[in-house]
């Protein structure tokens, strides 16, 4: 039996009505378990509630119904210890240098300054940023800024890493290479990774299991096991099984994407 790291039971999220309209049922019900140390991805059409689901796990939002548990403890709108999040948007603090941005992750850590400096150096080294420690985010490319954000997350030594479309703003080549780096970090840290993405190939390359979400209100309609070895890299996309997996994901997702876009499935 796999060790359950995060469990979601009967999760639903509704948003209150605005301007006299009806309340929006954004998500659920969802039942899902993330196994300790696995790389789990979720794909789904735009607006299906993927990011909402991530925020519920992170404790950034509270579920309207159901229970989210991390390491056996309920999360209800409060941030759990040792959970790291990397967002799609640029989350670097523009007034801080790269080293200061990374050190931000240790602000609340009760560590001597020398230890903090050592850990910042280590995180910069892991992400290949040591030559840019004194640079400001505005002097870096989008991919490097995302590396800063990943380093800031890594430095907290998270046991659960939540990635909210972290490569969405990057070009395809950078995305593949960043994907390789994330896989390497996942193997090193042995953390559980939960990835939200709209890119089927990204999910198929990175994840051990991939869940497909329906159009709003987002529900899980399929879970695909990739069966990849842990030491994979981007070259996995050359395999025949890669095509099989992305085809299956698209088969599950196509009708939902059409629905999300306001088009009936039989017209396509």
């Amino acid at each position: 039996m796999p060790d359950v790291h995060v469990s979601m039971r009967g999760i639903e999220k509704t948003f209150p009505a605005s301007g006299g309209g009806r309340e929006v049922h954004a998500l659920g019900p969802i039942d899902l378990e993330l196994h300790r140390g696995e790389f789990f991805a979720i794909v789904g059409p735009s607006g299906c509630g993927k990011s909402t689901l991530l925020e519920l796990i992170a404790g950034l939002a509270e579920a309207s119904a159901g229970v989210v548990q991390f390491e056996g403890r309920e999360i209800r709108g409060e941030i759990a210890d040792r959970v790291g999040v990397v967002f799609q948007e640029d989350a670097c603090f523009p007034w801080l240098s790269v080293a200061e941005n990374v050190a931000f992750g240790l602000r609340k850590a009760n560590l001597p300054a020398a230890d903090k400096a050592r850990r910042v150096d280590e995180a910069l080294g892991i992400m290949g940023l040591q030559d840019f420690a004194r640079h400001y985010p505005a002097q870096l490319s989008g991919g490097m800024r995302q590396r800063v954000c990943i380093a800031r997350t890594l430095i907290t030594e998270p046991r659960l890493i939540l990635l909210d479309e972290p490569f969405g703003a990057l070009d395809q080549q950078t995305r593949l290479l960043m994907g390789e780096e994330v896989l390497r970090l996942w193997r090193q840290t042995k953390a559980t990774v939960f990835l939200i993405t709209h890119a089927l190939d990204e999910a198929a390359m990175l994840a051990d299991r991939i869940a497909v979400m329906s159009a709003r209100p987002g529900r899980l309609i399929d879970i695909v096991e990739t069966g990849w070895p842990a030491d994979r890299d981007s070259r996995i996309i050359e395999r025949v099984e890669f095509g099989t997996i992305t085809s299956r994901l698209w088969r599950s997702l196509r009708a939902e994407s059409l629905k999300a876009g306001g088009r009936p499935a039989d017209r396509a």
Binding site: I79, F87, F93, P94, W95, R107, A138, T156
Partner: protein, 250 residues
């Protein structure tokens, strides 16, 4: 030195040169205004003699107190009301029309409430400066990307920590715009109040010199106020430029 700086210096030099010429050829008579070189000479004499040091110190001290109060209360108020939409919407019309209110009209009332000392003057200057700080700080806080707030929350920051560590630093360039206005308003407020009713300060000395046709005191003091304001503004602009350069807006 940048090209823009050189142009600025040239414009100021040209204006002073024209004024000098108009004074020297008598187009502007000596009773109306002294030539700029005489104003500079008289200013140096006033500063060396030290006879108005007390007045200068009084004005600058009171303006500094009003400025610090406007800054502290302005930023604290903006941070406090930023998250409350209904309160913001209630106060927005007041902020939008605030500078149409003749604040100096409250001076007699403030004297009754606060006495004849410096307090009413400081209050006038504070009232002039504080809303500029609030409005510009709110403007900056509105622009803080949600993702930075979420990042701060993920790292366990509370509301106060978030303000001091994330939202205010992000909003700093906008806050500085308010700070620059507060410097000018604080000085205007104090000098204006001293001009209307006071027994000391640069505003009072300018008023006294004005009624006695004492151009050798009046113009140098006006120039001194200008110099203080320009110096403070230039320093703040340099700071602002440094902040913006770091963020890639140079």
């Amino acid at each position: 030195m940048s090209r823009v700086t050189i142009y600025r210096i040239l414009v100021i030099a040209a204006a002073i040169g024209i004024l000098e010429l108009l004074c020297l050829i008598g187009t502007i008579d000596r009773i109306t205004m002294q030539a700029p070189h005489l104003i500079a000479r008289d200013l140096a004499a006033i500063l060396v003699a030290g006879k108005l040091n007390g007045a200068i110190a009084k004005t600058l001290t009171n303006a500094s107190v009003a400025f610090v109060l406007a800054l502290t209360v302005g930023i604290a108020t903006a941070v406090a009301i930023h998250g409350y939409r209904a309160l913001r919407e209630t106060l927005d019309p007041l902020f939008a029309t605030y500078y149409a209110i003749p604040v100096f009209g409250f001076y007699p009332l403030l004297i009754i409430l606060l006495g004849l000392g410096d307090a009413p003057q400081i209050m006038i200057a504070f009232m002039l400066g504080v809303v500029a700080v609030i409005v510009n700080t709110l403007n900056g806080l509105d622009r803080v990307p949600n993702v930075l707030k979420k990042t701060a929350r993920i790292h366990g920051m509370g509301r106060l920590d978030l303000a001091f560590t994330v939202t205010l630093p992000y909003a700093a360039p906008h806050v500085l715009t308010g700070v620059k206005l507060a410097v000018a308003y604080s000085l205007i407020g104090i000098v204006g109040a001293e001009f209307i009713m006071s027994r000391g300060g640069m505003g009072y000395e300018i008023s006294f010199a004005f009624t006695n046709f004492d151009n050798a005191t009046m113009y140098p003091l006006i120039v001194l106020i200008l110099l203080v304001s320009i110096t403070a503004n230039t320093l703040l602009s340099l700071w602002e430029k440094m902040l913006l350069t770091r963020r890639g807006y140079s």
